[in-house]
Amino acid sequence: MKTTTTQLIETAKELGLLEEEFHQICKHLDREPNFTELSIYSVMWSEHCAYKNSIQWLKTLPKKGPHMLVEAGEENAGLVDIGDGLGCAFKIESHNHPSALEPYQGAATGVGGINRDIFTMGARPIAQLNSLRFGSLELDKTKHLLKGVVKGIGDYGNAFGVPVVGGEVHFDASYNTNPLVNAMSVGIVKTDKIISATAYGKGNPVFIVGARTGKDGIHGAAFASKDITEDSTDDLPSVQVGDPFMEKLLLEATLELADKDYLIGMQDMGAAGITCSTSEMSAKNGAGMNIYLDKVPTRQKNMQPFEILLSESQERMLVVIKKGFESDLQAIFEKWDLASAQIGEVTDNGTLSYYMNNELAAQVPAESLVLGGGAPVYEREYKEPAYYKQAQDFDSTSIKEPENLKQVAEFLIAHPNIASKKWVYEQYDSMVGTRNMTTNMPSDAGIIDLKENQKALSMTVDCASRYVYLDPEKGAAIAVAEAARNISCSGAIPSAITNCLNFGNPYNPEVYWQFVGSIKGMTKACTSFNTPVTGGNVSFYNQSSIKGEVEAVFPTPTIGMIGVLEEKKLATGLSFKKAGELIYLIGRPADEINGSEYLYSYHKEKLSKTPRFELSEELNVQTTIQKLIRLELVESAHDCADGGLFVSLCEMGFHNNLGFQIELSS
């Protein structure tokens, strides 16, 4: 019984495609798609892979920079030239929704995925950071999510053997049911050894290496109904499980492979697994592939073509090598006890042909699937929300100064958003690799010793999401400025950023207004700090329904920034070293409490303007700090951020148990 067009359109909708997108598919194929082809388009044209509701604005972000080796979007991660023939690959990504479902595995697979994006380019990950946002700490749900996420990040990262050198944890009611788990990884690669995610050369073999493929990550009603195996849904794994041990083997094996001239291209299997890697690697060069799905090593019996194509099982890579070196590749993976199987070969007709037991299961033009190719691009309308005006009109001078200031100080210093997060980061190995220079010298940024040369690398991850809520454009500019400030205080010069844009539903005009404002703010700040955007990811639909009403989380454009220290001795800590040192405040203090933790948590004033912020002034302050450090006049430097001057001074005193005496009038 031939499925009628109306039935196909119904299935397309179940798969999350619009009717109009169904007709576009028919134009690409100049025929109607079968179910497997429809499911391929549904994942490749999903928000997650195609960025259809955000790419139009992402393109406006500054991508050019003095030392950019690879520009945003060209490869799996951004790549910055750090001199002496070395490049730095770094990226940040979100795993918010899987972590809300199963915190431990959601966070663990997030760490696994972001590290694969780095070593797929031939770079060895040398440091990790993470940015976590949870609901209020009083809720049992928050405690459950926090415990699972921290243990998941720790267990995966510690076993994988890459130190966590920085990060942030914030608590706010807006994240009560939808936590944000953003993981960042930083790797080093020789500039002549960069591996591209590409495929070319008719007849060259295509391999899948690493873990076996299971029915992981195939969700949604459309698939469940299609599952006709006898034990039906109870063999659909509810959650993907990460295996850090397998990932470590995959890292070592792929880096050994990356050294070989016969390697043509490599890409890790992230969202949409085999479908995404085969299409993106082919589209890059106008190549195509014949893929024999029955050759893919599977973990579960009688998997169907669409299940193998869409599976998001972890710890797998797609590799294309020159014909004739098949046994060389297999020897490397055997050494590391990893599976490797040839599942097809490259063609030059730009078409992806997927066979199952020599029967054609699906045939689609690679170009039509990918971002920048046939994937649709949409414009969304946006509108200023009512709360914005109220926030701008708020007069912070109306707040009466409380009598007992000591009690206010104690309240702030103990507030979960300000107090030390040692109880979290002590569960991460921050020292493996013996490169972390901040183990015995706390600093505003993680500082990594580049053993390969005389330099060091600074890195940080920041976002004051409350400021972005109060004023998206200014708040996002502040997020970039704060990241740059941390890099400058650590002794480095800001170099480039990656970003993880966590927002609500793009079809809600007020949410999209927050998104557009953030992009504009980031563009201004990145241009003036000369820190181009090297890539990252977008996560929409972060929201919770309270009393039936859907509410977006705070708009959170998390900024991951790296900076270079030309000499290791420039590394600067944030702690007072000994009594008698002079304390200077650089930059004009504004006598105002707008947007402060004090106003928000102590006085419970939710709406106000952001703190005063002038981009040119900020730039001036930072270049001054950078000069002072290079003149070796600075013993320690610390930025004034959450909690203001008082909290910054306390933080400078803790490590060496020192106090401070300041003259407020000066």
């Binding site: 053997g161 006890d337 020292m431 493996v432």
Partner: protein, 244 residues
């Protein structure tokens, strides 16, 4: 703290082996630390059996076989371990650090076992340790000295039965104990619940050593802590004397 510069020459023929298991991730850290101390290093793959006539063998930290089942439970069966057992039985010097200590206990080369930390969490921090005695190749130079050495583990709680504990004391096999900055040994500064704060032990013939803290993570002055170099230099000079 001034870097303790025990006089060591680069005895040209001396060579140290460092084993790499699938899942080891501190093997290159030990290699880098030994290079900082001007020593020759040979990396040994767990599937081989040739120890390439190294003078002493390091079994590094990490998560061999993902720490699955029990830390070190699976690594003990790698081909290299049979050569290391024979090497140790003939008096060869073997040092296991963190996962290496767990592997030596699982393979029976060291007494006792390492259990999950009492707070059921992974812990990474600086710990203070003190040598229990001065008559092993590792501790001759650390009389009444408190050393700040990093720890990073989830299964670091040393356990041994009562009889075994008495033997350890009788034969002077306890290497280090966790203490505070001033050298006080008590439960507050026991990071993982180890019996009597034990951080490291050696075998009865004092040629196989195991400790949970990572000396190789405190050897580079750039990281502002070189207490670990003191322990490794002590071992290097002891091996030198045996070779001389």
């Amino acid at each position: 703290m001034m870097l303790y510069d025990l006089e060591i020459t680069n005895f040209s023929s001396m060579k140290f082996g460092v084993v790499t298991f699938p899942g080891s991730n501190c093997d290159t850290d030990i290699q880098d630390a030994l290079h900082l101390l001007d020593q020759k290093v040979e990396m040994l793959w767990h599937k081989d059996t040739d120890l390439k006539d190294c003078d002493a063998i390091f079994i590094p930290g990490g998560f061999s076989y993902g720490d699955y089942l029990r830390s070190g439970a699976i690594a003990q069966f790698s081909p290299i371990m049979s050569s290391i057992k024979a090497f140790a039985q003939q008096g060869g010097i073997v040092m296991g650090i963190c996962n290496g200590f767990q592997i030596l206990c699982e393979s029976g080369l060291l007494p006792g076992t390492l259990l999950h930390n009492s707070n059921q969490k992974f812990i990474c921090t600086n710990a203070f340790i003190k040598a229990e005695q001065q008559n092993t190749l590792l501790t001759t130079e650390s009389k009444d000295v408190v050393l700040k050495i990093p720890i990073a583990h989830a299964e670091g709680r040393y356990f041994i039965d009562q009889k075994g504990l008495e033997d350890l004391k009788k034969n002077d096999q306890i290497l280090f104990k966790y203490c505070d900055a001033k050298g006080q040994i008590n439960t507050q500064n026991n990071p993982n619940g180890s019996i009597e704060n034990i951080a490291g032990v050696c075998n009865i013939t004092k040629n196989v050593f195991g400790m949970m803290p990572h000396p190789e993570r405190a050897c580079d002055a750039l990281l502002k802590n070189t207490d670990g170099a003191r322990i490794l230099k002590n071992l290097i000079s002891s091996v030198q004397e045996i070779k001389a």
